[in-house]
């Protein structure tokens, strides 16, 4: 393509370029804590290595003095060759936007102890528990350090590099047993009892091993009834894991005083398959279809996040048409996801099926388009490094593609959104159930690292498409939807707003798609085995329909597999806010509050 359609952005770096907020904060942080910080000098790495015991003071300075008040991601990395493990923190500034301040705390591999950040950033709660579960970090001062994704009593920490699954074949795919002398077998023939478990040698169960569920109940608050008169007991109830209201296999352990929630703890991990360990066994391209299975309602966006992270690592560029197609796909995904989310939220509120199926009719057209373009309705596997897998199809459901898209974007989707508005927004029952219920204040929303619609419905206008634009979002005209009350009703309304903004974006994208017809859709020759051209790390994040989806990928030079592959899953971290939001409300409201967070268990459990 020779004709350039886009002007280069105005703020090209000049000689006297201003420091980005992250660089500025990094410099100031080094001034304030000179003794405990050092630059991360490994090739391809960014950020600073912090003396592990001082992480709380540094984090406090970042939050209070430098405005980096949003702890997006906390994850572990096993550096087995150096005998160390490190925790990687990504801090962002809600007010100033831009890139992250990355801190790394390294600890001894045999004795991984470091202070917890939960007291400063409550959003670190689940992520530290995950790091404890997967790597065995002992976070001192964490109020409730239990396993979260695997079950209590699980042997070992699965993401450590020396941990092996029950049927361990090889460290990396592709496995040698498949070719050139492949003799078919099934894994279940090779594990005891055909199950994916391993038993210690000589292990004979006594029955007591199964009594390991007490920890979750001990963590719950049992405050004494201080009111005079009738003394009542608190009751602990399990909502789920098999319950229509939990949107999957998800359990909420609640303590009730009558019908009022005193305390709530989510129990997750029923769908856990160790996505990240699989990802570290896979080659880079093999991970692409696996990302579809995270948030299976918005696989296109998941693909994009991973593609961005790997493109950053590989220094690949994306041709223009591919970028427009990507935006088209992810914005359609956002609408499809929100239609689904609203349908289920209303379902949870008691508007059984009718609104959901009306929304679903239009979502159906979007997945039809995905099917025609990528070959699959939900597991799209559509993005590739430096492009997309296929160009747009010729026709969709017997209609030329561009006409189909126009029909969809100018006609069907706006009509569906307006119709949903008429159907439900003014409904007195919905208003009575939703207004003022499950309130999340802006301070809490930021502190608990919530993202996406949950954060923005609490009055925090933070959208990665604006704060740290990727793809061509800085060329597009749209508003960041924001609502200020932070209750269920606002989380309902913000999704309607976001769909309208997505339509605005799509209307701008269509002319570019027409203009670039026939242009290349990928940069380099596609290869089945791409190797990292350099060692290093990269963090790609996108504004998924459910919030910030981040991929932390590290690799060694010439390696075909990621060394570390971490997914910052928005649904998982948004769940941190569920307990505080639900406190003081009735059982029936909890169902609606959960629905308003909009979780997908494929992503929560990973």
């Amino acid at each position: 393509m020779s004709d350039i359609i886009l002007e280069p952005t105005a703020d090209a770096p000049g000689p006297d370029v201003e420091l980005t907020p992250a660089q500025e904060a990094t410099a100031k942080l080094k001034e304030l804590h000179p003794n405990v910080l050092s630059d991360d000098t490994r090739e391809g790495y960014e950020g600073m290595i912090v003396y592990a015991d001082s992480i709380t003071e540094v984090a406090k300075t970042l939050r209070d003095d430098l405005g980096f008040n949003y702890l997006s991601s906390v994850t572990g990395v096993d550096l087995i060759e150096e005998g160390k493990m490190e925790v990687v923190y990504h801090f962002y500034s809600i007010d100033r936007g831009g890139g992250p301040v990355v801190l790394k705390a390294q600890v001894n591999r045999d004795e991984p102890v470091l202070p917890s950040l939960v007291s400063i950033f409550p959003g670190a709660d689940f992520q530290e528990r995950e790091a404890y579960d997967m790597y065995g970090f002992n976070f001192l001062g964490h109020p409730d350090l239990r396993r979260i994704l695997t079950w209590d009593g699980f042997a070992g920490h699965p993401l450590r590099k020396d941990w092996k699954e029950p049927f361990f074949e090889e460290e990396f795919k592709p496995y040698g047993s498949r070719w050139p002398d492949g003799q078919v077998f099934r894994v279940e023939e090779k594990t005891p009892y055909g199950k994916n478990v391993q038993y210690p040698p000589g292990w004979a169960p006594t029955g007591e091993e199964y009594d390991i569920e007490t920890d979750v109940y001990l963590g719950l608050t049992y405050s004494r009834d201080a009111t005079p008169g009738l003394k009542t007991d608190k009751v602990t109830v399990n909502l789920g894991p098999q319950h229509p209201s939990t949107h999957g296999v998800f359990r909420m352990v609640v303590t009730l005083d009558g019908e009022t929630i005193v305390d709530l703890k989510p129990v997750v991990g029923y769908l856990h398959r160790n996505h990240e360990k699989i990802g570290e066994r896979n080659t880079f391209i093999m991970n692409m279809p696996y990302t579809d299975r995270l948030d299976y309602l918005s696989s296109m966006s998941n693909n994009l996040g991973y593609a961005l992270a790997v493109e950053k690592l590989f220094d690949l560029t994306v041709p223009e048409r591919a970028e427009w197609i990507r935006i088209l796909m992810v914005e359609l995904t956002r609408i499809a996801n929100h239609l689904w989310a609203l349908g289920f939220l209303l379902n949870d509120l008691g508007a059984l099926q009718t609104p959901m199926l009306y929304y679903y009719l239009e979502r159906e057209l979007i997945v039809d388009f995905f099917e025609a373009a990528s070959g699959s309705r939900m597991m799209c596997n559509y993005m590739r490094f430096s492009g997309v897998a296929y160009d747009l199809p010729d026709d969709v459901r017997g209609m030329p593609t561009m006409k189909f898209l126009e029909e969809l974007i100018y006609n069907n989707l706006p009509r569906a959104i307006d119709q949903g508005d008429d159907l439900m927004t003014g409904n007195e029952i919905v208003r009575a159930r939703a207004i003022g219920v499950g309130v999340l204040t802006p301070e809490d929303a930021i502190a608990m690292s919530t993202a996406g619609p949950v954060l923005r419905a609490s009055g925090v206008p933070y959208d990665i498409r604006r704060a740290e634009p990727y793809s061509y979002y800085d060329h597009l005209d749209f508003d960041v939807a924001v609502r200020y009350n932070g209750d269920i009703y606002d989380r309902y309304l913000i999704r309607v707003d976001e769909m309208r903004q997505s339509l605005r974006i799509l209307q701008q994208v269509l002319p570019y798609l027409k203009q670039t017809e026939g242009a290349p859709i990928f940069g380099d020759k596609p290869q089945y085995a791409q190797r990292a051209p350099r060692s290093g790390e990269s963090y790609g994040r996108v504004e998924n329909p459910k919030g910030e989806l981040g991929y932390y990928v590290t690799a060694k030079r010439r390696s075909g597999n990621p060394e570390r592959y971490h997914v910052r899953a928005p649904s998982f971290i948004n769940l941190t806010a569920l307990g505080p939001m639900a406190k003081g409300h009735k059982v029936a409201d909890v169902v609606a509050i959960l629905g308003s967070i909009d979780i997908v268990l494929g992503e929560v459990d990973r």
Partner: protein, 228 residues
């Protein structure tokens, strides 16, 4: 006014209710709304109105060309009187190396002297593990493995029926042309190009290399669906 929101919402429902009858009437003179291919196609497009139910299995949604469900192996159309045509697969193993679930097993055939022969002796796909991602078909350099459109694979016994062997997987080229005509045609053209490029190289030793590279790149574009 309290209750107005509910009434307004009910209006939407009544609209849908009446709309479904209006659409019935619209198709009444044209062979009815159901079991009528023309009506069915309109119903499934953005122009469709009224009830959108598909009466599966009597009615089925058409599958687009790129639809992918469990791979199959392409063979030549069998000569008259024979059941199988020549395999296109050369047992190069690229599909195995790219398969995310590692569900493909290939045993490469051997010549009598023990050297490898570019032909599969056995070929298995465990469809329980296959995640229908389509990467094998995308990266196969010989167009030998393609994604099928047959999604009705239910069976009574998982342990015996779900490992597909070469016999089960092989389907003639005519089948591929039938389910995916445009793509098959584009691949035909690309193959002819590549063939021409090969002979060119043979003719003039060392010359025409750049042409060949350009043509291979173009061929890759065909695979990516740029020209169809």
């Amino acid at each position: 006014m309290y209750g107005f929101g509910i009434v307004k919402g009910l209006g939407v429902v009544i609209n849908h209710f009446i709309g479904s009858y209006i659409d019935d009437l619209r198709w009444a003179g044209k062979g009815g709304r159901y079991y009528n291919e023309e009506a069915f196609n309109v119903r499934q497009s953005p122009l469709g109105e009224g009830v959108k139910t598909v009466f599966y299995p009597e009615e089925k949604l058409s599958t687009p060309e790129r639809f992918r469900f469990v791979p199959f192996l392409v063979t030549d159309d069998p000569p008259p009187g024979q059941r199988w045509g020549h395999d296109w697969c050369t047992a190069c193993g690229i599909c195995v190396k790219v398969c995310p679930a590692q569900c493909i097993w290939i045993e490469r055939a051997k010549q009598p002297n023990g050297r490898p022969k570019s032909q599969p002796e056995k070929f298995f796909i465990d469809i329980d593990m296959c995640m229908n991602c389509g990467l094998c078909a995308e990266f196969c350099p010989f167009d030998a493995i393609k994604m099928d459109h047959d999604y009705e694979l239910a069976s009574y016994d998982r342990s015996t029926a779900h490992i597909h062997d070469k016999e089960r997987l092989s389907k003639p080229l005519s089948y591929w042309r039938e389910i995916s005509p445009k793509k098959a045609e584009a691949e035909d053209i690309a193959r002819k190009w590549a063939e021409a490029a090969k002979t060119k190289k043979r003719d003039k030793d060392g010359e025409g290399r750049e042409d060949r590279i350009a043509e291979v790149a173009a061929r890759q574009l065909y695979y990516k669906g740029l020209y169809y």
